[in-house]
Amino acid sequence: MCLVDVEKSPKPVPSCATPVAPGMVVHVSSEQARTARRAVLEFLLINHPLDCPICDKSGECSLQDYADQEGRASGRYADYAKRYNPVEDFGPDILYVPNRCVLCTRCVRFMEDVAQAPTLNVSERGDRAHIDIFEGELLDHPWAGNVVDLCPVGSLLSKDFLNKARVWDFDKTASVCPGCTQGCNTVLETRDNAVVRIRPRPNPDVNRWWMCDEGRLNYGWLNRADRIEAPLVRQAGRLVPVDWEQALERAVEVMGAAAGPWVALVSPGASCEALEAAAKLLAVKGGSGAFRVAEGPEAPLAGVPDLALRKERAPNVHGAVAAGFGRDWAAAVELARRAALVLVVDDDLADVERPVASGPMIYVGTVLPEEARSAAVVLPCANVAEEEGSFQNLRGLRQHYAQAKSPPGMARPAAWILTAIHDALVSRVGTRA
């Protein structure tokens, strides 16, 4: 498809595989080059089914673009039946539709050269050639989802995304993967205020063009429906929804009254801005804070240096450390039971023994777990898809992410909440001497 005309060359050459030479004169759209490309396209379309309406790749398909550029509405092979092979199941998230395949072998080469776990091959020859999987193998490599992006046509499909949406409906937002400390750059694709798909965003310093399957499929929680939608304050033993002004007022009241050391239980999933604001707030009367990280097996992408699904499955572990929070979660939880005030930022308090705190608790979070129902003030915050912020990855790179959808109800970014409390508190009690 990339044939171009080179002067003094006997025939058109493929531009992707021809080195530039001194004095070379290339004609991209000469009559000969166009004819050659048109002929190649005709060959590709002989067996390509006319199922763009039900193909998930439709709208981002290279073959569709080429056919559109050439603009020929009918083929010369209409009288012949097209080759037909049934859909194959390649792995946990990948389907292979052999009819649509153009045999570019990008998927085979990705598995061989980049993942360095050869799983795919081209089986049979000539007209019968197709992509196949080695005997007894499964395309279940942790980075296998990249072959779906690489596929220029709709031959390799994600089961998760199958028949779910049309790609032209999406709003795309630059973001950073909240899955682990690697900090892969991503594009959040949203429709009707819900994240539908996550794809990698090229960044040569962090993730090249790739993204692991875990990060790809890690979007369900961004669309959770059981979110806190209004600030809640404790009145006569019950949590009552109030507006932001009253909620902040109460939070400042509670914090102003709490003298002794404060303890913060924060999440390494919060943005750098939120964690810095929390640290600043903590410093008003003195205190300490810690976070905990979920861990999983590390899964490197062999062909790319310094790229892996990291063991620590939270995006901002290093940002939290930089903001001054410790890793000793157990000690912090122990300390929280005796502290004059506990500030929880975005941690769901799962598996924390109740009661979490003996003193008052300020809970800033997206959802309201049972453990947080004893809080004095509950403030709803936005999740990573609903706010702007930044994460610091394990190489110290601080990466900005943008807002992809609107937060539910009255929820606001955690950084805004903590800064507002800090400012009000300082104007009331002054900074610590």
């Binding site: 763009c52 309406p53 039900i54 439709s58 859909v87 199958l162 028949n163 779910k164 949406a165 049309r166 032209w168 409906d169």
Partner: protein
Amino acid sequence: MAITVKTLGRPQAESSYVRATLKGMALTFKHLFARKWTMQYPEQTSDADWTLSKRWRGTHRMAVDETGKAKCVACGLCPQICPANCIKLVAGEDEKGNRYPLVYEIDEFRCVFCGYCQEVCPEEAIHVGVDYENAEYSRDGFVYDLARLMKQPHEVSTLWDPSDPKGE
């Protein structure tokens, strides 16, 4: 100051109403015996002189295949092209793994009856219909769902002449 009124001295034959009245009555009586164009709608609902054009674009109808299912494959082109944004479509997968519309609704109040949906449909599934009787008892009734669109009995519009698609 008194107003001066100018009096035209026309002859009686010209200024008399009798002549004009007779002329008017003559026209009226002429029409009593002339051919009648009025169709007595709604008592009468069809008339040889009052057929709708084949290209009339009215409320929609969804074509069904031989098994009785909607032809629609939920490709999403009609909501995309719709200038009034009146089509709601959610794609899904049926028991055979085929793509089909989980939700397909057309808000006929929003629709501007441009016929683009029929023109763009690759499966010839959605059509605008040759129909004008759309009265409903509630506003909700004007949001046609898939079952209703499939049940519509009226003819579908022929947006162009198949023997002369470009209108030459």
